[in-house]
């Protein structure tokens, strides 16, 4: 894997050039955000739910070893094989061995971000295993050889025509189809035989219940259920942070998850796996892959509370206008910008800058992660570790000097205002001025706040401050 920092800005530029895609992307995500808001307003207990979710998660993370052991004991009692993987390579090896022991060559798979993290598909391909994604969006991404661009809706950046083109190549459907129903039906017809002949099924796990040894999977298509109930071998890959202590805690999370994600009350399917089906075999692989280290980062450990609802992406103005693929990472959007640098600080050093720090992500997060504060903290860490791009570093350096000297700052503001109103466009809008890219600079004001204040308030304020007789 190359360590070269992801050029998020350049990739976003590419995305922005294509107006129809950009506009749809922006509107679709904003629509999900608004549907989420509508759900929030229906429930007067919304903030209480968030608080409860946050506290349960923080508690669980502080006792994670105990809860993991409890889960393992209960799961084993019920016939689940439990495996532990330190990193992606170990995870892939374990999965490969299970499949080999069953001589399984066709794996059907429900969406799981952990397997993306581990880069499992190419590994299994080399072992002669065919992996077929069953989630429609994820399947589209698989056929197009792209990472998911959103954790809930992986192909959200594509339009119907894009999907028609991809399906035409692999399913031999008409490339001119513009009805999403026909395309979804083509996927259903193509997937059925693959599902019926699969040797093994794989799912992720949204939640893991320590008390009962259960893991819970939430999907809308029911594809996790198909993957788990048709073949007799079920492997689930789960991040170790996914635990909750009690079955009774699930109420809080199920009530929040889909409402935060898509604005629907619940996913169409919420499935509880506590043991293998009749005649079947079930394996759970618990994956660390950097999570235990993140738990030790004082400023960033609460990012492990994330339940992967995607609400922070849907609301983020930068994500909506740059597209998930521009992050160049498995996880995109605000939460991605926090956790990606923990995987590779240099490679993902540009991502914490892909935010306006407007705090909208923090406001919508169902488990109350202080996302925008963590983004800000990452910037500080990265500056300390010298991961800041040269131009940005120099500009910040100059800005720091300028802001430290009020008189110089005021003079600079005036000069900027003058130049904004008098300079020809080509001077303002070129590659040297990133603020002139893809946007109009602000209209120059006639009078700065400081000028106005001097004229109107400074003199008026003085006498007002004087009479200080009674307290």
């Amino acid at each position: 894997m190359s360590d070269k920092p992801v050029n998020h800005a350049r990739a976003a530029e590419h995305f922005i050039e294509d107006t129809p895609h950009l506009q749809f992307h922006d509107e679709r995500l904003w629509d999900m955000r608004q549907k989420r808001d509508a759900q929030m307003h229906i429930l007067p207990e919304w903030q209480e739910l968030r608080e409860e979710a946050s506290r349960i998660k923080e508690h669980t993370l502080s006792r994670l070893p105990e809860y993991l052991e409890q889960f393992e004991t209960n799961a084993r009692k019920n016939g689940i094989h439990v495996h532990w993987a330190r990193d992606g390579a170990e995870h892939n090896r374990i999965v490969g061995e299970i499949l080999k022991a069953h001589n399984a060559r066709n794996l059907i798979k429900s969406k799981s971000m952990v397997t993306e993290e581990c880069d499992m598909r190419p590994y299994l391909a080399k072992q002669g295993v065919t992996v077929t994604e069953t989630d429609l969006g994820e399947r589209i991404q698989q056929l197009d050889d792209q990472l998911p661009s959103h954790i809930v809706v992986p192909a959200v950046h594509k339009l119907t025509a894009d999907v028609a083109k991809i399906f035409a190549k692999d399913y031999h459907t008409d490339p001119e189809i513009r009805d999403p129903h026909l395309l979804a039906e083509a996927q259903r017809q193509a997937a059925r035989p693959v599902i019926l002949h699969a040797d093994a099924g794989m799912t992720g796990g949204n939640f893991v219940v320590a008390e009962t040894g259960t893991f819970v999977v939430c999907t809308n298509e029911g594809n996790a259920d198909l993957s788990a109930t048709v073949p007799n071998l079920h492997i689930a890959t789960i991040g170790i942070e996914r635990l909750v202590p009690r079955m009774a805690d699930m109420g809080v999370f199920i009530r929040l998850l889909s409402r935060s994600a898509l604005g629907s009350p619940i996913t169409q399917y919420t499935t509880h796996f506590r043991g293998p089906q009749k005649g079947g075999e079930m394996h759970v692989v618990l994956v660390d892959n950097g999570r235990s280290a993140r738990l030790g980062m004082e400023d960033f450990w609460t990012s492990l509370k994330c339940i992967r609802c995607g609400a922070c992406m849907n609301t983020c103005p930068v994500y909506r206008r740059s597209g998930g693929l521009s992050y160049g990472a498995v996880y995109s959007g605000p939460i991605g910008a926090i956790i990606d640098p923990t995987f590779n600080e240099r490679k993902y050093s540009t991502l914490p800058y892909a935010s306006t720090l407007n705090g909208s992500c923090t406001n919508v997060c169902p488990v109350k992660i202080n996302i925008h504060e963590q983004l800000y903290k990452w910037r500080r860490v990265l500056v300390q570790h010298h991961e800041m791009p040269f131009v940005k570093r120099e500009i910040m350096h100059m800005a720091g000097k300028l802001m430290g000297q009020p008189r110089m700052y005021r003079a600079a503001i005036k000069a900027t205002e003058v130049s904004l109103s008098t300079m020809p466009r080509f001077v303002l809008y070129n590659w040297l001025n990133p603020w002139g890219k893809h946007r109009e600079n602000p209209h120059p004001v006639k009078q700065t706040f400081n000028d106005w204040y001097r004229k109107n308030r400074e003199t008026a304020a003085k006498p007002a401050a004087a009479p200080e007789t009674k307290k």
Binding site: L43, E52, V153, D225, M247, L262, H272, G275, Q277
Partner: protein, 195 residues
Amino acid sequence: MSTARDEILQALRANRPTPENHPLPPVATLGDLDASRERFITSLKILGGDVLEPVEGETLDQAILRRHPDAKVICSNVPEARGTLPVEKVKTPQDAATIDVTVVRAPFGIAEMGSIFLSEAQLPINSFAHLGQHIVVLLSVDQLTANMHTAYQERPEFKTANYGVLMSGPSATADIQGVLIRGAQGVRSLSVWFT
């Protein structure tokens, strides 16, 4: 040689925040506690499910045919309906793929979400709930619970079933340009018949 398990647990123990600062909150029961049939039906319809209302003098078999006139293979796992395919014929997970309509009984439903619960106790084989084209679910009104909190606290099935699915309407997707499509992979429709 230390195992992956030991190493992970050890790292978690060394790195975790102070447990005393993060006590476990008591179990919450929040929100609307209305467990009525009306609330269930409203929620069910939001999620794309529907009620199969009986017409005067009609049997369940007739009602199913009224709703699914083209159905050839109807497989029932409840005594209330006969169907066309004896359920004993469904032995392997793949056998369920030929069914047009499956008929099952749910032990309970959740009014808040319009969800019904199914586990291996109600299914001849787990894939029975998913591989058929349509599903008709029998549900008793006194087996409705108010919301997700009450469901998880009151229903023993969550702790006893090996496989327990909450189905809230049919399989759905909006993965292609945001257009909502019912019947993506699993059942194309879900109808509830109250008993």
